[in-house]
C-alpha cells in the first residue's frame, strides 16, 4: 500500500499534467483519544483514527473539492479525471467564477512539541480530575448530583501541497476538557458547562486555574439558587469578564469579518454579515474597540501557523480603534475581493473544503485594573461568565445570559444577581465600549460552519470590558 504523501504528490503532478488551473492537495489525519468520567468513574474510553486526502481544484473558474480515504494512486487518478471532465464539460456561466492569485511557494515543516505529552501523562490528568471530582462531591453548600468530564486529545497532522509548489507539513496536538455540572437544591436543578483547552502538551495546562474556575462555577450555582437577587432591568453600565469579552469578539466581530459570509457563500448555512465588501475603513465602534485574530499563539487551542491552502497565518486587525480594517480571507475570497489570502482557510477533516475561519480572536487589552472599571461603572452589573447565548443571521441581534454575576453599587461589587440577560445589537454594543482592563485571558471553543457543518478548534478572549448603557433583561 502506498502512503498518503505519495498520493498527495501524485495528485499534484497528475493535476498539472491535465493543465488544471489550480490544485491543492491535502493529507489530513487526526488521532484522537476520548475519555469520559461521570461522578468520578470512567464511563467511556475511545480512540479514533482518521486520515485521507482532500483535493481542491479550480479549473475553468469552477470550484470542486473531492476527497477520499482510500490511499490509492489509481483511485486518485480516476477522481482527478472525473474532476477534469466535470470542469471542462459543464457551462461555467452557471458557476460563481473563481480564480486564485499566485502566491510564493514555501517548503515548511512545523511540529508543535508537547511539553508533557498527553499520552505519557494522561494518568496525571485523570488523577487530577478524579481529585477535583471528589472535591466537588464534598461541596457542602450544594448537592452536585452529576459531575461529567470529557477529555478529548487530538493529534492533528496535515501535509498541504499546492500546484505552485508549496509543501507545508504540520503537526499540532490539542487537548480539550469539557465539563457539565448539575446541582440540586430545594427541588430545583441548576446546570453549568465549561471548557478548558490548549495546543501542545499538558505542561501548558493551568491546573490551578482549572480548579478555581470549577469552584467559582459551584459558588455561582449556589448563589443563583440561594442568594442571588433579580438584576435591575433597563440600560445599565456593565463590566463583562474575559469569557464574555471573548464570546462577543468571536460572534459579533470575528464571524462577520469572514469574507465568505460577506460574499454570501454561507447564506443558507452559517449566515451572512452586517459588513459588506465596502465596509473597510468604516467606523463600527468606539475608539476602544480593537479586535484581533491571531492564530500564531502556540499554546492556544485555535493555534496554527499555516492554513489549509499553504498560506501563513498572521495577526489580523479586524477592527482597530473602532474602524473596520481587515476581513478574514482564504484564496478564493481574496481573489473575489481583489486582495490576498491572510491565511484563514481551515477544514475539519480531509472530507471538507477549507472555509474561512477564525483562529484566536480577542479584544485588545487596555490600561485599567478591573477595580478601576468597576469603580468607573458606579452602578450596574459585573457579568463575569455566561451560559446561554445566541446571535442572528447578520450578526447584529445578540444575547448573552450571565452566570456568575454581581450588582455594582457605589463603584463596588455588591450582591450576586440571577441570570442577567444582555440583549442588544452589535452597533450599540461596540459603540458603548468605554474601558478595557490590562489583563487578558483566552478560552477554547468549537466553532461550526459550512454544510455539512465543520467544527474547528478556536480560541477567544479579551480583557474585562466596561460598556455604558447596555440593555439588561431578566431571564
Amino acid at each position: 500500500m502506498v502512503g498518503y504523501r505519495d498520493v498527495v504528490e501524485y495528485s499534484i503532478d497528475y493535476g498539472l499534467s491535465k493543465n488544471l488551473d489550480m490544485i491543492i492537495s491535502r493529507f489530513q489525519a487526526s488521532n484522537k483519544k476520548i475519555i469520559e468520567l461521570l461522578n468520578g468513574k470512567e464511563i467511556l474510553e475511545r480512540i479514533d483514527r482518521d486520515s485521507g486526502i482532500g483535493i481542491r481544484v479550480i479549473n475553468n473558474s469552477i470550484h470542486v473539492h473531492t476527497s477520499l480515504n482510500v490511499p490509492s494512486i489509481e483511485v486518485v487518478k480516476r477522481k482527478i479525471d472525473e474532476v477534469y471532465s466535470i470542469t471542462t464539460n459543464l457551462d461555467s456561466n452557471k458557476f460563481t467564477n473563481v480564480e486564485v492569485l499566485e502566491t510564493e511557494s514555501k517548503d515548511v515543516t512545523y511540529v508543535l512539541k508537547e511539553d508533557k505529552a498527553f499520552l505519557d501523562y494522561e494518568n496525571d490528568l485523570l488523577e487530577f480530575i478524579r481529585g477535583l471530582d471528589a472535591r466537588i462531591s464534598r461541596y457542602k453548600e450544594l448537592e452536585v448530583v452529576s459531575r461529567y468530564f470529557k477529555i478529548i486529545y487530538t493529534d492533528e497532522e496535515k501535509y498541504v501541497v499546492t500546484s505552485e509548489g508549496s509543501r507545508i507539513y504540520s503537526r499540532i496536538p490539542r487537548l480539550l476538557i469539557i465539563y457539565y455540572l448539575t446541582g440540586k437544591a430545594e427541588g430545583r436543578f441548576i446546570s453549568k458547562s465549561g471548557m478548558v483547552g490548549l495546543s501542545g502538551g499538558l505542561g501548558a495546562l493551568n491546573y490551578t486555574q482549572f480548579e478555581e474556575d470549577i469552584m467559582n462555577d459551584l459558588k455561582a450555582m449556589h448563589s443563583i439558587i440561594f442568594e442571588s437577587i433579580n438584576p435591575p432591568e433597563g440600560e445599565l453600565n456593565i463590566v463583562v469578564g474575559n469569557e464574555v469579552a471573548g464570546i462577543i469578539a468571536h460572534e459579533a466581530v470575528g464571524h462577520p469579518s469572514e469574507a465568505d459570509r460577506i460574499l454570501g457563500f454561507e447564506g443558507a448555512q452559517a449566515g451572512e454579515s452586517y459588513l459588506n465588501e465596502d465596509s473597510i475603513d468604516e467606523t463600527i465602534g468606539s475608539s476602544q474597540v480593537t479586535v484581533i485574530d491571531d492564530p500564531t499563539f502556540p499554546s492556544m487551542y485555535g493555534f496554527y501557523l499555516y492554513d489549509d491552502e499553504g498560506i501563513p497565518s498572521k495577526r489580523r486587525f479586524l477592527i482597530e480603534r473602532g474602524i473596520v480594517k481587515e476581513f478574514l480571507h482564504n484564496r478564493l475570497t481574496g481573489y473575489l475581493m481583489g486582495t490576498n489570502s491572510n491565511g484563514s482557510a481551515r477544514s475539519e477533516s480531509f472530507r471538507d473544503e477549507p472555509l474561512v475561519r477564525m483562529g484566536v480572536t480577542f479584544f485588545e487589552p487596555g490600561d485599567y485594573e478591573l477595580e478601576e472599571l468597576i469603580r468607573e461603572a458606579r452602578y450596574g452589573l459585573y457579568i463575569k461568565s455566561f451560559t446561554e447565548w445566541n446571535i442572528d443571521d447578520l450578526r447584529v441581534n445578540q444575547r448573552y445570559v450571565g452566570f456568575e454575576a454581581y450588582l455594582i453599587d457605589g463603584g463596588e461589587i455588591s450582591h450576586p444577581v440571577k441570570y442577567p440577560v444582555i440583549e442588544t445589537n452589535t452597533y450599540d454594543l461596540l459603540s458603548s465600549l468605554i474601558g478595557r482592563s490590562k489583563e487578558i485571558r483566552m478560552y477554547p471553543g468549537i466553532c461550526g460552519k459550512g454544510d455539512p457543518m465543520q467544527l474547528v478548534p478556536v480560541s477567544f478572549g479579551g480583557p474585562h470590558l466596561l460598556f455604558e448603557r447596555i440593555r439588561i433583561l431578566r431571564r
Binding site: I47, S67, S146, R188, G267
Partner: protein, 448 residues
C-alpha cells in the same frame, strides 16, 4: 461519477480485524463497517459555487471483556493493523470501568433494505444539475437563492461475537435553500428524504413564489407574549433538542428534563413523538443499529406520557432497561423524530383561518440552553416571520427571540396541521417529520 458502494475492502477488513481480536481472546466484539459516498452542490446568489464529493470508509468497533466497553473508530486505512490491534488490546486490558457489560441478545442475521429507503440512482448528478438549472433560472430576477443539495449513499455492515451479522444500504438527500429578496428579507425552504427523484422544481418554485407575496414589508417585532405558529422547519429545530434529551446518555448523566420521569405524563396534550425507520420517505431508513439490534417503531412520548428513552445496550443496562435499537455503541440517540398531535385533521389553511392573533415563525437557529436539566433555552428567529390577524397574513417581522423551557413548550402546544413533511434544519442533526405547530403564550424578546 463512477465510484459505487464497493465494500469488498471493508468486508475483508472487518473479517481480518474480527479474526485478530478473537484470536487475542477478546470476549465481546462488535465491528461495524461503513462505506459512504456523498455529493454536494452548493450555490449562492444564483450561481453554483462548489461541487463536492466524498468517498469515505469507516470501521466502528466495540470491545469488552465484561467490564465497560471500549470504542474505536478507524477511518485511517494506512494504519499498521498489528500496531492498531495491539493498541486496542492494551487499552482494553487497562480499562478501569466498573460497568458490567454483556452483549445484546444474540443470533440474528439481518440483511434488509427498508422499502423506499434506498434509491440506487440517487447520485446521478444530471438530475440535480437539471433541477438546479430550473430552480436557479426560474426565480424572479430580483430574487437570489443560496443553499445546497446533498446526496448520500451509505452501506453499513456488521459482524459481532454474539452471532449478529448483517448489512443494508440506504440513501438520503438534504435540500437546504434560502430565498433572499434582499440581505434582510429571506425565506427558508428545506426538504430531506430517502430519494431525490420525487423532488421536482415546480413545487419549489411555487413555494418560492408564494413566499414572495408576503415579503414586501416587515418591521421589528414588539416584545411580549405571542401565540406562535411554527413552520415544520422551525419546530424541527426545537424538536431536535427535545429528542436529544431522550438519549439514555443525557438521562443517566442528569442532563435532561426527562431524567427520572419515565411513565409520567409530561404534557396534558395528546402528543406522540416516535422514531420509526419504516416511516414513509424517512432519510433514516436504518434497519439495525451499531450493536446489530433491529430497529423498530419506538414511542418516546405517547398520548402525552414519557414511554421510552433512546437506549443502546450499555445505557439500557445502566438505567435498568433494555436497548431500544438506538446505538451508537458509546452513546444512543434518536435517528429520526416523528411528531404527532392528536388525531390531526386540520389543514394548514383551516388552521390559519382559525387564528385571530398570532405570528408565524419560519425558521430558527442558535437554540442554546442556560439550564439543561430544567430544559431552559432561547432560540432565535431566522428568516422573515409573518403576523397573522383574523386568519390572514398581515405583514412581516424580524428580530424575535423565543424564551422557553421544554416543559412550558410541551404544556402550551395546541394544534398541528394535517400536512407534514420531512425536514432537517442546517444546524441540527436529527431529521423530523411534522406539520405546522401552534404554541400559545410564548415570551419573545428582541435584542434592542
Amino acid at each position: 461519477m463512477s465510484l459505487e458502494l464497493s465494500s469488498i475492502y471493508i468486508k475483508e477488513l472487518i473479517d481480518e480485524l474480527y479474526k485478530r481480536l478473537s484470536d487475542k481472546g477478546v470476549k465481546h466484539i462488535i465491528i461495524n463497517g461503513y462505506t459512504k459516498i456523498s455529493k454536494s452542490f452548493r450555490f449562492s446568489r444564483n450561481k453554483i459555487d462548489l461541487l463536492k464529493e466524498v468517498l469515505s470508509h469507516k470501521i466502528v468497533l466495540g470491545l469488552s471483556n465484561g467490564k465497560g466497553i471500549y470504542v474505536s473508530t478507524l477511518s485511517d486505512f494506512t494504519v499498521d493493523l498489528d500496531e492498531y490491534v495491539e493498541t486496542l488490546i492494551n487499552t482494553l486490558n487497562r480499562l478501569k470501568s466498573e460497568i458490567e457489560y454483556s452483549p445484546p441478545e444474540n443470533g440474528r442475521e439481518i440483511y434488509e433494505i427498508i422499502p423506499g429507503g434506498y434509491d440506487d440512482k440517487i447520485l446521478q448528478s444530471e438530475n440535480v444539475m437539471n433541477f438546479l438549472d430550473k430552480v436557479l433560472s426560474g426565480v424572479p430576477e430580483e430574487v437570489k437563492l443560496s443553499g445546497s443539495i446533498h446526496l448520500n449513499k451509505v452501506k453499513h455492515m456488521i459482524k459481532t461475537s454474539y452471532d449478529v451479522e448483517g448489512e443494508y444500504k440506504r440513501t438520503y438527500y438534504i435540500l437546504n435553500l434560502r430565498v433572499f429578496k434582499d440581505k434582510d428579507i429571506t425565506y427558508p425552504l428545506n426538504r430531506v428524504g430517502s430519494s431525490f427523484k420525487k423532488q421536482s422544481p415546480e413545487p419549489i418554485l411555487e413555494e418560492i413564489s408564494k413566499s414572495l407575496e408576503n415579503m414586501d414589508y416587515y418591521n421589528k417585532i414588539e416584545e411580549g407574549r405571542y401565540n406562535i405558529l411554527f413552520s415544520p422547519l422551525a419546530f424541527a429545530n426545537i424538536l431536535h433538542y427535545v429528542g436529544s434529551m431522550f438519549s439514555g446518555a443525557e438521562i443517566y448523566s442528569n442532563l435532561s428534563p426527562f431524567s427520572g420521569r419515565l411513565g409520567e405524563s409530561i404534557t396534558e396534550h395528546d402528543i406522540d413523538i416516535y422514531d420509526d425507520p419504516r416511516e414513509e420517505g424517512s432519510p433514516s431508513a436504518i434497519p439495525f443499529d451499531e450493536e446489530g439490534v433491529p430497529r423498530k417503531k419506538v414511542y418516546f412520548v405517547k398520548n402525552g406520557a414519557l414511554k421510552s428513552y433512546a437506549l443502546n445496550n450499555v445505557y439500557g443496562k445502566l438505567l435498568g432497561l433494555k436497548t431500544t435499537g438506538h446505538a451508537g455503541i458509546d452513546s444512543p440517540y434518536p435517528k429520526s423524530l416523528i411528531f404527532k398531535l392528536g388525531d390531526t385533521t386540520t389543514t394548514l389553511d383551516e388552521l390559519l383561518t382559525s387564528l385571530k392573533d398570532a405570528i408565524l415563525i419560519n425558521n430558527l437557529w442558535y437554540t442554546r440552553f442556560s439550564n439543561y436539566r430544567e430544559g431552559v433555552f432561547s432560540t432565535l428567529q431566522r428568516d422573515i416571520g409573518l403576523y397573522i390577524k383574523d386568519g390572514s397574513f398581515n405583514g412581516g417581522f424580524k428580530g424575535a427571540r423565543i424564551n422557553l423551557s421544554i416543559n412550558e413548550l410541551l404544556q402550551n402546544i395546541r394544534i398541528m396541521s394535517k400536512e407534514n413533511i420531512w425536514t432537517k434544519p442546517w444546524d441540527v442533526d436529527i431529521p423530523s417529520k411534522l406539520g405546522y405547530v401552534l404554541v400559545e403564550n410564548v415570551k419573545i424578546t428582541t435584542g434592542v
